[in-house]
């Protein structure tokens, strides 16, 4: 699905990721952990093409990111659903419109009953007409997950999806992501919440990656 070959990224004077080689294969489940500022969000941005590696190669769905045209890059992003830490909703649109946004921009019809089913699945039935400012933190995160998956993407990337949630809500969101993985989706969650990772490992065969000193390492039994 997504492959990094000796990929590096950094700013002048600071290297965030150095020579990372990694493959996110189909239906795999990964956690990405590491201290704040280690480069987790940067790694995710590389994966969905918001950033491009300074060196090395990154390919998604068999295509080299550096070779993609702007339209091809947009097409690639439609195959990747992203749950941002701050949700990235459009404040003037309702929850239903925000969730349906990937289909709207893709020019695809939206079946009302399917949209209702999706919102019910993430526990947001009855909140369709609410504006983002009227949603709680948990509702926003679940709405962001609904938007990330409405286009039936192959890969789901989540950046600190439980960062602002209580434990019960975190477990609920995790169970949704695990269910998606069982449906064949590749899932990568960036988090520094080790309890979440430990709990998830009881439910799914998750691989844990840790970013340290610009390197992405496989975490061991200490988790």
């Amino acid at each position: 699905m997504i492959e990094l070959h000796d990929a590096s990224y950094g700013y002048p004077g600071r290297t965030l990721l150095a020579g990372v080689s990694l493959t996110l294969s189909r239906a795999s489940f990964h956690f990405l952990t590491g201290p704040s500022g280690a480069g987790k969000t940067t790694f995710l941005k590389l994966c969905y093409g918001e950033l491009r590696p300074n060196a090395g190669r990154l390919s998604a769905f068999g295509a080299d990111l550096a070779q993609l045209s702007r339209d091809d890059l947009a097409g690639m992003r439609r195959r990747i659903g992203v749950v941002h830490q701050d949700c990235e909703f459009l404040d003037h649109l309702t929850l239903a419109e925000n969730v349906a946004l990937p289909l709207i921009v893709a020019g695809r019809p939206i079946v009302e009953s399917d949209l209702a089913d999706l919102l019910a699945w993430v526990g947001l039935r009855g909140r369709e007409g609410a504006l983002p400012s009227e949603l709680s933190g948990g509702e926003r995160q679940r709405g962001a997950l609904a938007r990330a998956i409405i286009g039936a993407p192959d890969v789901i990337l989540a950046d600190e999806p439980t960062g602002n949630l209580d434990w019960e809500m975190s477990m609920r969101l995790l169970s949704l992501l695990v269910e998606l993985n069982r449906m064949g989706k590749t899932v990568l969650i960036a988090t520094h919440d080790l309890n979440l990772i430990r709990t998830a490992k009881t439910q799914v065969a998750a691989r844990v990656l840790r970013i340290k000193d610009g390197q992405v390492q496989t975490a061991g039994a200490d988790l």
Binding site: E50, A74, R77, E97, I104, P109, E112, A152
Partner: protein, 300 residues
């Protein structure tokens, strides 16, 4: 959970418009509306002035081309004789449709604006005038001049050519000025819409970023702005055109005033006025699309 489908035949679809993704509020939106209305108003008036001036110049030029005047300046005892000879010559001149001596009352009326209504024409050495209606294609002014010089030495033919040339030049100049003015108005409209779109794009950077992240192509993002701003420009232009058309239609008609009588649109010329909103819409569409795509490309 049931996977989301995109069935082709769905009983009910959720279909918010693509232009909904751009926030509706913003000063640039109101400015676009008002500026388009003002530009359309100016465009309609420019068209009205151009058509009026053109029509008037054509009318003057056409009337003068089909008429000529013979002025007979002779001693009082020769005036009647030479006038008769001129009329005789004119009856046998090819291209002359009709001729008549202008009576003293009519001459007095012609001179009234300069000398007042009580002008004693009889006591003044005013030349006799013979008005001729011609068929311009068949009329030979030079040939007639030669014949008149032989038959009536005091007769001078004025075929109005020295008046027609500047009128024709004026008509051409007015047409050019009108076209240039309309081009300026169109250019100003395009520039105004471009600035408004650029301001809107700058103000909606976060919206654009989110749209990109979920896989929106530049052309899709641009379309959202194009629709919104084209609609605003069209609505503004419709309002401006309506007000201008009503103002033109309501202009007073001055009974004896050649120019003011003709100011406005006539017959099919109204179609040009009605085309202003359509032209404004096309201008806004092209300008918005170009500005949006350029900005999106530059930002990437």
């Amino acid at each position: 959970m049931k996977p989301i489908s995109t069935r082709s035949a769905a009983p009910a679809t959720f279909a918010p418009g693509i232009d909904r993704i751009v926030p509706a509020a913003g000063a640039s939106a109101t400015l676009t509306l008002l500026a388009a209305a003002a530009m359309a108003f100016l465009a309609v008036f420019t068209l009205a002035l151009a058509f009026s001036a053109n029509r008037l110049a054509d009318s003057w030029s056409g009337d003068l081309a089909a008429t000529a005047t013979v002025r007979i300046s002779a001693a009082p005892d020769q005036a009647d004789l030479q006038t008769r000879r001129v009329l005789e010559v004119l009856t046998t001149t090819p291209g002359v449709v009709s001729s008549r001596e202008i009576p003293a009352e009519e001459t007095r009326a012609l001179l009234a604006p300069w000398f007042g209504p009580d002008l004693p024409v009889e006591t003044l050495p005013i030349p006799r005038l013979v008005a001729i209606t011609t068929e311009p294609q068949a009329f030979d002014a030079e040939g007639l001049r030669l014949r008149l010089s032989a038959e009536a030495p005091g007769a001078v033919l004025d075929d109005h050519s020295r008046w027609r040339a500047p009128l024709a030049d004026t008509a051409v100049a007015l047409r050019r000025i009108a076209v240039f003015s309309l081009a300026l108005i169109g250019g100003a409209t395009a520039a105004m819409v471009t600035l408004a779109v650029q301001a809107s794009l700058a103000a909606n950077g976060q919206v654009i970023r989110v749209l990109r992240l979920i896989g929106a192509r530049d052309v899709t993002i641009a379309r959202a702005f194009v629709r919104r701003y084209t609609l605003r420009a069209t609505l503004g232009a419709l309002a401006g055109t309506t007000v201008a058309a009503a103002a033109v239609a309501a202009l007073p008609v001055v009974a004896d005033g050649e120019f003011l009588t003709h100011l406005g649109f006539s017959g099919r010329e109204w179609l040009w006025a009605l085309s202003v909103p359509a032209i404004a819409a096309i201008t806004a569409l092209v300008a918005t699309r170009a500005a949006a795509l350029r900005r999106l490309r530059d930002e990437a």
